[in-house]
């Protein structure tokens, strides 16, 4: 078979790979087929990469002959990258998974930027306008993603403080960097070939990724990671334009679009706009308006034994897990308590707010890891009507998503969809302190007459509750 024919076949295989990506994503619609869909997508990837290897091996070599060093680099690179990826992915704790996804996103964006840099260094003259535009965009977006995702990952790991880091004049620096990138890009797009200018753009974009992400609080990181995931997709699509490779364009655009949708869904669920999050801070002055409501009202503190009795003699219990449960890694502890209650004939369900945990859907993953049966996990719209029938709602480390103030106008959480926990017959809130949630306002649920506060770390508190129920 001659090379031309092979190239046609390989391009058809790439198309098949891209189709498998789309079909795989479609199968991720339902928990029943999702795992299958991911495997389908992985097969698409293996086929596309395998076909590329065959194509490159069969390619007629130029004057330099077979590039043995190049192939050695591929083999070494795949061994190192594959080994690291496999090891980290298999050993990561499920609670630490968001930061690992962010790390994988960082290296993906980095790879896309490196391709464009390498391509640019080989140029002898200014490239055609479309290649020029794609190259610069690839370098800029890929670099921002690389450092931005690393910072996001560091924040979630706790290596970098999670709270917003505000450098004096930081916004001006960020804006200045953006201006440098823009001016450099326009200079290059005007048809100039300049490696130093590309170097300046590269450094400015790398620093921009850092200064953009540092001022954003840890609780907003999921939205940022999702946005950066979308960026990487776009950078990969740009790399496709640089290399004139359709499979990169399709896969990159697919991820760019999916990341954008996900980002918007996540931001919507927190009642925030993406722009607000990226600019940083929770609205500053606005939160003063939130100080309405039951200021100074008293809370009722509940002992472990009282709480255990309430739970053990209830018929319907709804567990509302939140960020605090994820941070304390208490997913196994909550399941133990639920199993014990079920053994006593109590009906237990879990109310999952769309943004519970550290990422949308993260709470489902954590509870699934602890072997909580999938049918017990209820999404917000399904569970909200059931709170009225619930004897006890057990809120563990969730705050803003349960605040009835969201139903009123004029508070920072106004309009945010919440779980109707206050409709339950009685409420137990397990929480480390009266500390405020992310929105920085008091939760009116805590001063509700039906609410008993159980001050404890989620893991320790649940263990104590389980022991107390056993002793009954």
């Amino acid at each position: 078979m001659d090379y031309e024919t092979l190239f046609v076949i390989v391009r058809l295989i790439w198309l098949a790979g891209a189709a498998l990506f789309v079909l795989g994503l479609m199968r991720m619609n339902s928990p029943a087929t999702a795992r299958n869909g991911n495997i389908q997508s992985a097969i698409g990837m293996a086929v596309a990469v395998g076909a590329t290897a065959v194509l490159l091996l069969a390619r007629p070599t130029g004057s330099e002959g077979f590039n043995a060093v190049g192939w050695l680099l591929i083999v070494i690179g795949i061994a190192i990258g594959g080994g690291l990826g496999l090891y980290t992915a298999r050993t990561v704790k499920m609670t630490a998974m968001p930061q690992l996804v962010s790390l994988f996103n960082a290296v993906g964006g980095g790879a896309a930027a490196l391709i464009a840099i390498d391509d640019y260094l080989k140029l002898a003259a200014a490239p055609s306008p479309q290649v020029n535009v794609a190259t610069v965009l690839d370098i800029v977006i890929g670099s921002i993603t690389f450092t931005g995702s690393l910072i996001a990952s560091g924040k979630l790991m706790g290596r970098i403080p999670g709270k917003p880091i505000l450098i004096p004049g930081g916004r001006i620096v960020t804006a200045g960097l953006a201006a440098i990138v823009a001016i450099g890009a326009i200079y290059l797009w005007a048809g100039n070939l300049s490696v130093p200018v590309v170097g300046v753009i590269l450094i400015a974009a790398l620093v921009f990724g850092v200064t953009m992400t540092l001022p954003i609080g840890g609780a907003d990181m999921p939205v940022v990671i999702s946005l950066l995931n979308s960026f990487t997709g776009t950078a990969v699509a740009m790399a496709g334009f640089v290399l004139n490779n359709v499979v990169l364009i399709i896969a990159g655009a697919l991820v760019g679009a999916s990341g954008a949708i996900l980002t918007k869904l996540m931001a919507d669920a927190m009642n925030r706009s993406v722009v607000n999050i990226m600019i940083g801070g929770f609205g500053g002055g606005d939160s003063v308006a939130g100080a309405v409501g039951a200021e100074g009202a008293s809370v009722r503190e509940l002992g472990i034994d009282d709480a255990a009795i309430q739970l053990a003699y209830a018929q319907h219990v709804i567990v509302v897990p939140g960020y605090g449960l994820a941070v304390a890694q208490a997913q196994h502890a909550v399941r133990e308590l639920a199993d014990l209650l079920e053994a006593r004939g109590v009906d237990v369900k879990y109310a999952i707010h769309p943004v519970a945990g550290r990422m949308p859907g993260h709470m489902n993953v954590l509870l699934a890891e602890a072997n909580v049966p999938y049918p017990q996990l209820k999404e917000m719209d399904d569970i909200n009507p059931e709170f009225e029938r619930a004897d006890v709602a057990l809120v563990i480390g969730a705050n803003d998503v349960t605040n009835p103030a969201a139903r009123r106008a004029g508070t920072p959480v106004s309009g945010m969809p919440i779980l109707d926990v206050d409709h339950a017959k009685s409420i137990i809130v397990m929480k480390r302190s009266m500390g405020k949630g992310y929105a920085g306002i008091d939760n009116e649920l805590y001063t509700n007459a039906k609410t008993g506060m159980l001050f404890a770390d989620a893991k320790d508190g649940l263990a104590a509750l389980t022991a107390a129920v056993k002793a009954l």
Binding site: I117, L254, S258
Partner: protein
Amino acid sequence: MSDTEALLAAITVFVLAILVGFAVISKVPATLHTPLMSGANSIHGIVLVGAMFIAVEATTPISQLLSLVAVAFATMNVVGGYVVTDRMLQMFRKKPAAPAPKADGGEG
């Protein structure tokens, strides 16, 4: 002429792929958003194909270094991404058939 044709074809593919992405993703329930983000994250590891293209053409030391790092980064994205997504999705299962005949009803 053929350059313009090729560019137009590429842009067409780009735009249609974006629309497919919107259509496919908007149907996914919130429950699966984290696995989905991770799954989409692995798909952009396709950049490995591009990294292989530059590696086989790398002759200067700088180009060889860039290719090596690009291949390693991209492979880490692909392998790690799919494996961690699979680990997440593996957990979405019903209760092991033995102990729970009750909670497993056909709740729609």
